[in-house]
């Protein structure tokens, strides 16, 4: 997977511990001893065992585990909890375990001695399986068993030289001492690479942390990195650089709720965006998230839900009540729930766990429900969430966070906004009026897309989630029964208005008709008058022409007489 380190750089041996090889850019220095130190119970032995087991199984480098504390049987039983089968590796000659027991009460010292016996045993074990890796866990125990510290120091120096000479990649564990990294100051001898493991308890929550104190000849991450030990082994979470260089997808994915899709310009969220669904208890955050999961699974995408308040099966059962059956998705391996109480780990640990699970499951959608359940100091919360968002965005994963905090913050005191990290913010709100509670939904923001600025009423039924346009009128936003009442009233008013206007229309028609009638009457009398006028004019003309004729006749007669 990872490329072997190039020859010009310091040769490195991969540990196969997820994250650790990233932090050290390739693992531990090959052919040299490294010191892994820390207080009791910080995971030194498991780290060392993982280094050997991975060497034997992944990189074909057999290893010798020289235990100065635990007996071979105990060691085998202890690492079995990480899923390692040391018995099998021993049988396959990929691993040799040698328990070096030095009990002061059973040993009498008389005169000079050296630790040649130890060297020979180690050499014998190394040769018997052709080992490339060696673990000495915890060699300082020798100081408790033997009195001559000067001899021991000289011999340890010789031992580390011997390991180097043979080109064995070794992990030497050491218990944390007062004022120095190890009780006997082993860091003086093993100076190439020193790794410090820590197990801190803050607010009753334990967080394991790892730091590369020194790594001669190599760059390495210098921060403290949280790491995790569980049934899947050890994983270290490298703090991802907060680069904002992830690509931005223009692919749109449906929310699974048609009404919500319709509120978002392109018809859904952009792939790889971060979505915040906020709202107080019982507003339906998980239900909306469940719809998203269901829709994604139906598209054949892998989904992962980190749930902090319910178990996976409880969510499945609840989803059935809104008509979503998640079981087929679970059975198909498309959907996975990771349920844990927020107080189970510290923030870092949650992040580390998520990182690892996401890395392994490779989902395209991740739901964190609810993110507000994570507790911790405000600045740590902000940093953790920022990294969570970066971690998911960097992988192009669509992240859906639900939050109980309606104002988008995640802490009661600070104003550190989760909302500003988010690309889309859907806010759910209960409206309590007229003795009933109605769920409403707004899209407060949606980066890079037009979106509805309207409030929608949000209904859950056995058929799923439905968004209904809320009534917005002079009396404000009405929802639920109030909306229904208002709608009925409006219908009645409309009917009244229609009847009114029809009545007025009829009146006007009547008036117009009566005027028209009057006009007709007048027109009739006008006609009569015109006729009379014509008659009179005709009579006048006739008379005039008769008179003219008579005058002409008289004149003619007078002229003849003369």
């Amino acid at each position: 997977m990872l490329p072997e380190s190039s020859p010009r750089e310091l040769a490195k041996a991969l540990t196969g511990i997820s994250g650790f090889d990233d932090v050290t850019y390739g693992g531990l220095p090959a052919g040299r001893p490294s010191l892994v130190c820390g207080a009791a119970g910080c995971g030194k032995t498991l780290f060392a065992a993982t280094f050997l087991v991975n060497g034997a199984t992944l990189f074909d480098e057999p290893g010798v585990f020289m235990s100065f504390e635990e007996r071979a049987e105990d060691l085998i039983a202890n690492v079995a909890s990480l899923g390692y089968d040391l018995d099998r590796l021993v049988a396959e000659k990929k691993l040799a375990i040698d328990h070096v027991r030095v009990e002061r009460s059973e040993i009498e010292e008389s005169g000079e001695y050296d630790l040649e016996g130890l060297f020979i045993r180690l050499a014998y074990a190394v040769e018997s399986i052709g080992a490339k890796r060696v673990v000495l866990d915890t060699i300082e125990t020798l100081f408790a068993g033997l009195t001559d510290a000067a001899v021991l120091r000289a011999e340890l120096r010789r031992l580390f030289g011997w390991l180097k000479e043979r080109g064995l990649t070794a992990v030497i564990t050491g218990e944390r001492g007062e004022g120095q990294l190890t009780r006997q100051g082993l860091e003086e001898y093993v100076s190439d690479c020193v790794i410090l493991l820590d197990n801190r308890v803050e607010d009753q929550i334990t967080t394991r942390r790892l730091r590369v104190v020194k790594y001669r000849g190599s760059a390495h991450g210098t921060n403290e990195y949280p790491f995790l030990i569980d049934e899947e082994g050890i994983s270290v979470l490298p703090v991802t650089s907060a680069d904002l260089d992830y690509g931005a997808s223009t692919e749109v994915i449906s929310t699974g709720i048609p009404g919500l899709d319709a509120m978002l310009g392109p018809g859904g969220f952009y792939r790889g965006s971060s979505v915040l669904i906020s709202g107080v208890a019982g507003t339906g955050k998980t239900t909306i998230a469940t719809h998203l999961l269901d829709a994604a699974c139906r598209r054949g995408e892998r989904c992962m839900a980190f749930v902090f308040e319910e178990s996976g099966s409880q969510i499945c059962r609840n989803a059935l009540s809104v008509g979503l059956d998640l079981k087929p998705h679970l059975d198909a391996g498309l959907l996975r729930f990771e349920a844990a109480r927020p107080s189970l780990y510290g923030l870092e640990m949650h992040l580390a766990r998520m990182n690892r699970d996401v890395e392994r499951f490779k989902p395209s959608i991740v739901v964190i429900d609810p993110v507000s359940a994570l507790r911790g100091p405000a600045n740590e919360l902000q940093a953790t969430l920022l990294r969570m968002v970066d971690m998911l965005k960097g992988r192009g994963i669509t992240a859906v966070f639900t939050s109980l905090r309606t104002d988008g913050s995640f802490d009661q005191v600070g104003d550190l906004g989760l909302s500003s990290l988010m690309d889309v913010w859907v806010k759910l709100q209960d409206i309590d009026a007229n003795g009933e509670r109605t769920r409403t939904l707004y899209v407060i923001k949606a980066r890079g897309m037009s979106h509805s600025n309207q409030v929608r009423e949000f209904q859950m039924s056995a058929k799923g989630v439905k968004l209904v346009d809320a009534y917005v009128g002079p009396a404000g936003v009405l929802t639920g029964t109030a909306r229904l009442v208002q709608e009925a009233e409006e219908q009645a008013a409309t009917l009244r208005r229609r009847q009114d206007s029809e009545r007025r229309k009829r009146e006007v028609v009547r008036r117009r008709q009566s005027i028209e009638r009057q006009i007709a009457e007048l027109r009739a009398s006008l006609d009569v008058a015109e006729e009379e006028e014509q008659v009179l004019i005709g009579e006048d003309e006739t008379r005039e022409s008769l008179l003219a004729d008579e005058r002409a006749a008289l004149a003619g007669r007078r002229g003849a007489a003369e």
């Binding site: 040698d98 070096v100 027991r101 030095v102 002061r104 009460s105 059973e106 040993i107 009498e108 010292e109 008389s110 005169g111 000079e112 001695y113 050296d114 630790l115 040649e116 016996g117 130890l118 020979i120 045993r121 050499a123 014998y124 074990a125 020798l142 033997l146 009195t147």
Partner: protein, 110 residues
């Protein structure tokens, strides 16, 4: 065979195994010291086996040998280990159980 019974000193059968690392001066010195102590304090009832751990490395692990030289008392039981070149005779005797170690905790402090 031993009529005096187990309690009688000098009659107990000792089985000792000495691990040395090569034929160095220290190894030779250790063998000499052991022979001398046995001759003086145990007598003939002792069976000494000298093992060079370079030759038989597997025995080093089987006998839980860490230091060299290491003297192992195989019998009488319980097994005891004495490390070093056996130059401190009283300590060797105490380690072998020939003279009882009364206050072992004080000895370590000294």
């Amino acid at each position: 065979m031993t009529d005096g019974g187990p309690s009688a000193p000098g009659s107990t059968q000792y089985r000792l195994r000495l691990f040395i690392a090569g034929s160095t001066p220290r190894s030779r010195r250790t063998i000499e010291n052991l022979r001398r102590i046995c001759d003086r304090h145990i007598g003939p009832n002792v069976d000494i086996e000298v093992i060079d751990i370079y030759q038989q490395a597997e025995l080093a692990e089987a006998n839980r040998v860490v230091a060299a030289p290491t003297l192992l008392r195989l019998s009488p039981l319980p097994q005891r280990q004495i490390i070093g070149d056996l130059s401190d005779e009283p300590r060797v005797l105490r380690g072998l159980g020939i003279i009882p170690s009364r206050e072992p905790t004080d000895e370590h402090g000294a």
